[in-house]
């Protein structure tokens, strides 16, 4: 344990939120979405944020991506302050947002086109990513010919195609059935272990968060605050069956406990 602390202490911070507060102003009064929140995600770390619906976890992700400004406080990506949309992050939303008129491979290459870098090297990387998630054969198909799980895999490939150091995922598997979700959880772990990207993963799935993460940040709602950070100290690669182990139950139990105490879960 001591060794692990020492080991992680020299990992530089990648995503840094300091006293981040966000208030939405509306006709019916101000809504405090985030209240002076501090969060530090180290380089190469996989951190999940769980919390009840409307706790501001999606707002947090949008602020980190520079898609929404904070009301006060600051966000730093690799030391640089976030002021507008950040280019070197990959984003995956709950809806895959694939473009219907583009084939799978052309969807994956969309970020490359916007960056004016659709080179043979990038195209090769796109094909390799599709191969990794088992979608090489459907590269020339259109999104509507694919299942929900396949579509979300394409969205992940699209987020990764420019090889960004940071991956932001907002309930990416929330709309999938339980089995497909398991499958994609395992695939995401594999991808993450190979690339060691810094991942901020928003979810309301406690089990999913514990399975994937190094640390799980538990948030409360109205205003969004961090209640507790739960370390998941289970060696990787984690088989899906790890979810039946005592260590895993301890982590998820703790998360549930914190949520229950805050009133997010009753009973």
């Amino acid at each position: 344990m001591l060794l692990k602390l020492a080991d992680s202490s020299y990992r530089p911070s990648c995503i840094q939120v300091s006293k981040g507060a966000k208030t939405y102003r509306s006709a019916r009064g101000d809504v405090e979405a985030l209240a002076a929140l501090d969060l530090d995600v180290a380089e190469g770390e996989f951190v999940s944020v769980v919390g009840p619906s409307g706790c501001g976890k999606s707002t947090l992700m949008r602020c980190v991506a520079g898609l929404a400004p904070l009301t006060s406080g600051g966000i730093f990506l690799n030391g640089a302050p976030v002021k507008g949309p950040v280019r070197n992050v990959g984003i995956v939303f709950q809806r895959d947002l694939l473009l219907d008129w583009r084939t799978v491979i052309d969807n994956v290459l969309l970020p490359a086109e916007f960056a004016k870098q659709r080179t043979p090297a990038v195209e090769l990387r796109a094909m390799k990513l599709l191969e990794k998630v088992g979608l090489m054969a459907v590269a020339d198909r259109y999104p509507w010919e694919l299942s929900g799980g396949m579509r979300q895999r394409v969205a992940i490939c699209r987020a990764l195609v420019m090889d960004p150091p940071v991956l932001l995922m907002d309930e990416p598997f929330g709309a999938l059935d339980a089995l497909t979700r398991d499958e994609l959880n395992a695939e995401l772990q594999t991808i993450w272990m190979e690339s060691r990207k810094t991942v901020l993963f928003i979810t309301h799935g406690i089990s999913e968060a514990a399975y994937l993460s190094d640390r799980v940040v538990v948030m409360s709602s109205k205003p969004g605050r961090i209640l507790e950070t739960v370390e998941v100290d289970i060696p990787r690669p984690r088989p899906l069956a790890v979810r039946d182990s005592a260590d895993f139950a301890k982590a998820t139990g703790r998360i549930r406990q914190v949520l229950a105490r805050s009133g997010a879960i009753r009973g």
Binding site: L67, R87, I91, R95, L99, D100, W101, F114, A115, Y142
Partner: protein, 267 residues
Amino acid sequence: MSMGVLTSLWNRLLSSRVLIVSTLVGLVLWQAAVRTLNVPKFLVPAPTDVLQEFLSNQAWYWNHAYYTLSATLLGFAIAVVFGVILAIVIISSRWVEQTIYAGLVAFNSIPKVAIAPLFIIWVGTGFASKVTMAAVISIFAIVINAVLGLRSLDPDLVDLARSMGAGREGLLIKIQFPNALPGLFSGMKVGISLALIGTIVGEFVASSSGLGYVIMTAQSTFATPRIFAALVLLALMGTILFFVIDVLERLILPWHVSNRQEAAGHA
């Protein structure tokens, strides 16, 4: 792909057998009614009278039909080009939207037939006035549908594109415009029929050519079979023009929801 479209057209022709049979039955009943009731030719001619009239002046009819068709197509093409440009201008700024768009709506509420004489004064009694009427009448449907299509953009998709570094122009070309194509096509389907109406209105007001002119001159001499022959040609022309747009839509938008079923059968 084109094979698939041809096959689907063939299937649709087969499924229109009911239509063909009922049309034939209707023609036979019409013929029988006119003959047994001894209806004078100048009131309602029998189908055979109409056919005879057409066959005896075939080249003359084709010439006038060609005149009407070219004015319609040219006017329609102008309406599409300017309609799309106008739509892009309209969505580009709130100020322009409030002025141009409001002006367009006001303009559209004037019955276009009423302003036809004005165009005769401005562009003369020749071909140009028919083209102008066709364009003026059909442009509104195209602008409205293009504006709706360009506006119906998923806000998450805009965020995603922004995080990919998309500028306004890139967003327009790669996402907004393709996204608006289905709307544009429904506008074009309405527009092509309107363009034909515009041309005929132009020919009614002042002309020495075209099917509208044929109808006007025939009316003054009670040459009713001639009116019917021109009407049949107009009906055929309108149907074929609509059909052509429909086929174009299937070819250009194989990914769109309305075209998927059939395309999937040939995938």
